[in-house]
């Protein structure tokens, strides 16, 4: 029988705290078949643009579509790599420079699967999830972020 996954919410209002990350790591200490965790964190950079310096990024998303797509990506990554766990958290709203806006966490028995899956997840999140970042500059201008 196919396992039906209901779209798990990946969105967090505001920045992702270090405490949340610590809690998430602690939650895995009872899973004694895990040998390696791979974590990627996206942090807001104070980029210098011709129009001013970035102070924050305000994230919006087409949430329903993003959650459906995230389920699809999760299933594809789970079927490709022997993972124990996979977690995706993305911020919505205004995230200031130095704060964390993306937290991707994969775990597996042997390290390679967790590392490769984490890299691939980050690439797919950036390319395939309908999320938009608007940079808020110190000139009080705004500018839509472009992923490279």
């Amino acid at each position: 029988m196919e396992k039906v996954r209901s779209p798990k919410n990946i969105f967090v209002q505001g920045p992702i705290s270090a405490e949340k990350i610590a809690q998430s790591i602690s939650n895995h200490s009872s899973k004694t078949d895990i040998g390696g965790h791979s974590i990627f964190l996206g942090q807001i950079r104070a980029d210098e643009k011709p129009e001013g310096k970035v102070l924050a990024i305000a994230y919006t998303a087409y949430e329903d579509m993003a959650l459906e797509k995230a389920v699809e990506i999760r299933e594809e990554i789970f079927s490709k790599y022997p993972l124990t766990c996979m977690h995706i958290h993305h911020s919505l709203g205004e995230i200031k420079v130095g704060e964390i806006c993306l937290f991707v966490f994969t775990s597996s028995k042997h390290r390679k699967a967790a590392m490769q899956a984490c890299d691939e997840l980050v690439e797919r999140i950036k390319a395939e999830l309908p999320i938009w970042g608007k940079e808020i500059l110190d000139s009080s201008a705004t500018q839509w972020k472009v992923n490279t």
């Binding site: 996206g42 994230y59 919006t60 998303a61 087409y62 329903d64 579509m65 459906e68 797509k69 993305h90 806006c101 993306l102 980050v122 999140i125 950036k126 390319a127 395939e128 999830l129 309908p130 999320i131 938009w132 970042g133 608007k134 839509w144 972020k145 472009v146 992923n147």
Partner: protein, 79 residues
Amino acid sequence: MPERILLKAFGMLAEKMGTDTLEVKNPGSSEVLKQQLLAQFPELKDMTFRMALDRKLLQADTDISQGQEIALLPPFSGG
């Protein structure tokens, strides 16, 4: 009574159009809808965007039925 469909716009597109939702008469297909929008919002001509129907990206011209959800999506920039 002609069918009405609901459009959602996101990011830079919503900003340029001045709204994030728009109700229009169903023109029957995504390509016709796109041409209608470019006529109504000439500023969209200089912008890159894709369309989604019921939360799936469209790859080609697709028929639109009443009750379906259409969205206009500028390039993604999450992460």
